[in-house]
Symmetry: C2
Subunit: 341 residues, 2 copies
């Protein structure tokens, strides 16, 4: 059933039926009711492509993943996308997932020129991120999950990574820790840079030596968490506490602590960032893990809203949010052994 047939059935023009369906105010109340009832009865749905062509709007937002960055292989992305998809469904917006085969820039060009999407979500931004200026040139609205140093007006939603890691470090310092290690994500990305800055500044503010060797960065897998933790803990003067940028890295770090015959909490404290993944819940581990927490699913949902606003013509300069991060204190953080007595 298409619009023409529906209009014919109702004895109305396509114009009126279209207006009734789209909630235009000038349609008579009785007419609207009749139209809506018939549409319901025949399960009428406007053809998506036809509507897009006529309005010039794609009714979709895009999410692009570069294969080299392996973003899609990051398990937390599932949760992020769940948030995006759920909120987009509410506003009847499609979510287009594209994999960049070669150059990620090509993918954006394709999306822009084919008018496949009204806006895109950019994940894992870097401080200097060429994608932001590219999208600006392509006139494709973008909402960045995170932040860049770009001066261009772009919408973004970020969490306060710097504040979170500063406060976590301060909390450990308050417990008596002096040597606090950082197992971070790749500092090519802004989020990791911000976390490192929070950690570094908290240490400096207390007058602790900030030794570069205590900060390690890499992929946030169980394996690299293990490797970095072992490396740090085998120092002559090992850290008594570790800050981990992901729950997976924390699992690896916990394994390293155990493998060295040490006790988590009593010998080495751990704090990890938790994105709210259901597969591994910090509160159920042994011991329960202290975390900096922010739901990446909620971020995805809000980002979908921002993308929709952008698609509707909102000013990107007005769409900025930085969410605070909660710290949840649990059993994996104790005073360092020297002070525990």
């Amino acid at each position: 059933m298409n619009l023409k047939q529906l209009a014919l059935h109702l004895g109305l023009s396509q114009t009126t039926v279209s207006r009734a369906l789209n909630g235009f105010p000038e349609v008579g109340e009785r007419t609207r009711r009749r139209v809506l009832a018939a549409a319901e009865q025949f399960h009428y749905r406007p053809n998506a492509s036809a509507r897009k062509l006529a309005t010039g709007r794609a009714g979709a937002i895009g999410v692009v993943f570069s294969s080299d960055r392996n973003l899609l292989l990051d398990p937390i992305f599932t949760d992020f996308l769940a948030g995006v998809a759920a909120r987009s469904a509410e506003s009847d917006t499609d979510v287009l997932v594209s994999s960049a085969l070669g150059d990620e820039a090509d993918t954006y060009r394709r999306l822009a020129r084919a008018h496949s999407v009204d806006a895109v979500i950019l994940s894992m931004p870097r401080e200097e991120d060429p994608r932001v200026s590219l999208l600006h040139r392509l006139a494709l609205p973008v909402v960045v999950h995170g932040r860049t140093e770009s001066k261009l007006p772009y919408a973004h939603l970020d969490i306060d990574n710097e504040g979170a890691f500063r406060r976590a470090t301060e909390m450990l310092a308050d417990l008596g820790h002096r040597r606090i290690g950082l197992i971070n994500g790749d500092t090519a990305f802004t989020f990791a840079l911000h976390r490192e800055r929070g950690w570094r500044e908290a240490l400096a503010a207390r007058g602790f030596a900030v030794s570069a060797e205590l900060g390690r960065a890499g992929q946030m897998t169980e394996e690299s968490g293990y490797r970095f933790a072992r490396l740090l803990l085998e120092f002559e003067a090992p850290p008594s506490a570790l800050l981990c940028s992901s729950i997976f890295a924390a699992l690896g770090a916990m394994r390293a602590i155990r493998d060295l015959g040490l006790a988590i909490g009593r010998d080495v404290s751990i704090v990890a960032h938790d994105d709210g993944l259901a597969a591994v819940r910090p509160e159920t581990l042994t011991p329960a893990l202290t975390t900096t927490f922010s739901s990446i699913r909620a971020a995805g949902a809000r980002i979908a809203e921002i993308a929709a606003a952008l698609a509707a013509g909102a000013d990107p300069a007005s769409l900025h949010e930085v969410w605070p991060v909660d710290i949840v204190f649990r059993g994996s953080t104790l005073p360092p052994p020297e002070r525990a007595s």
Copy 2:
């Protein structure tokens, strides 16, 4: 730049330009070259919606997630989607991700009536899955990741879950294990049923008692892996080996073994199914984990191909694949303690 402008620039008709771009054979070689060069020069891309409207094909495949099933919250889904997206990009097909707000069936009806997609991928099927017959009624081609008992012709790609768990069980039996526990996914889903069947039949074939209490099913999280493992290991006659349906459940089971003061491998053997997630690699754990392995990313890629074939009109009855599963023997499986001496 649109087709009209491009044609005008070339001094050709839209017809010829369109044909040249789409590789029709009747276009002159010189003409084709000119057209292609100009398209390249002006970065011409046909408007996706216009093309869809004209051809009647959406050029997209759909992936739907029901919120109640929380499929999107499953981290391995990221890898699956990575495979789908990468392969779809090669064939210039869009991947539409939809979240079912309320009824999943409504979402399929919407996709079908709005002609948003040419085919859909159905994940986490059940033995009796009403979605398959619904899609059949809606005339929306479907490729199932897994299997159902439906008699309707539907394309599918599955892995040999039954064979994998049968062989893993046999392998443990060959090592001398007599009590082998199963920590499974929710048996409402076919994959979990098949795994249970493989385990059960291998036990029966050896003449071992198949006690229902040794088989547990639930969410495949670290926490439920822990909970089930503890429960089984605290029996009077605990299992000496555990089969886990996911790497996350295995992590939990390993934690349970340690918490009980036992050694993984020496006291309790573990085998886990590995989907190839990068975040947690079984070969890097302590001890390295024996696994049944099948890349879910490769499955996603192949399923995208099948979906494309379906969209192009292939017969679903001819599109069936069941992939074998490798078993990779590592340090987490040893003979049971009674025999180890």
